[in-house]
């Protein structure tokens, strides 16, 4: 399976600011996804990061709040904009082939004060 890294691993941010999270994979992958895991909850898909085009967002998530880039087949970023304490969560990147098993990165633990 691919080796996935995320930066930063954790951060503490002030409300109203923005944070960009990076996801790097050691090999080219077809699909890249961004998930959120709120305290005590399971994983919720934010969006599918598409290479060379706009991300596909799930219901309840919008581009203005969670802009995503995917400039190539091994890298993606997720920005959490205008943060509030409700955005405190673990943000996870995952990768897969088409209709194949998803593998997850180590996550970014975000606390918004």
């Amino acid at each position: 399976s691919a080796v996935i890294s995320q930066k930063p691993s954790r951060d503490i941010c002030q409300r109203g600011t923005s944070l960009t999270i990076q996801c790097q994979v050691d090999s080219q992958v077809t699909m890249m996804f961004w998930y959120r895991q709120q305290p005590g909850q399971s994983l919720t898909l934010i969006a599918t990061a598409n290479q060379g085009s706009e991300a596909t967002y799930e219901s309840g998530f919008v581009i203005d709040k969670f802009p995503i880039s995917r400039p190539n087949l091994t890298f993606s970023t997720l920005t959490v904009s205008n943060m509030s304490p409700e955005d405190s969560s673990i943000y996870l990147c995952s990768v897969s082939g088409i209709q194949e098993t998803q593998y997850f990165g180590p996550g970014t633990r975000l606390l918004v004060l």
């Binding site: 399976s1 996935i4 996804f33 909850q41 399971s42 994983l43 919720t44 898909l45 599918t48 799930e58 996870l92 995952s94 088409i98 209709q99 098993t101 998803q102 593998y103 997850f104 990165g105 180590p106 996550g107 633990r109």
Partner: protein
């Protein structure tokens, strides 16, 4: 709407005490059911994929089974290092997103 319900929410076992975790699901055409293990502060680690009713897969002390309505993760003679949250997810056909359950938090006491 696709749904996944895991039970129990938390399970505490003595070392060597075998048990099972349950994952009940409803999905419009199952492409696959996935089990992951998640340690505190880490991302989910892939364990198994099951594709059709009757299928079974094993890895060390873990065995996953699948019926048309649910999956079980059997843990035989668990050790403290098996302590983690176990997540179940389903995916329908058509390149749809994974739908996760809330997980079962397993604690194995020496």
């Amino acid at each position: 709407e696709d749904q996944v319900t895991q039970s129990p929410e938390a399970l505490r076992l003595q070392e060597g005490e075998s048990s099972s975790l349950n994952c009940s699901y409803t999905v419009s055409g199952l492409r696959g059911l996935f089990w992951y293990r998640q340690d505190p502060g880490k991302g989910p680690e892939f364990l198994f994929t099951l594709y059709s009713a009757g299928e079974e897969k094993e890895k060390e002390r873990l065995k996953a089974t699948l019926t048309k309505k649910e999956s079980f993760l059997h843990i035989t003679a668990p050790k403290p290092e098996d302590s983690a949250t176990y997540l179940c997810a389903v995916q329908a056909f058509g390149n749809t997103p994974l739908v996760f359950g809330k997980g079962t938090r397993l604690s194995v006491i020496a």
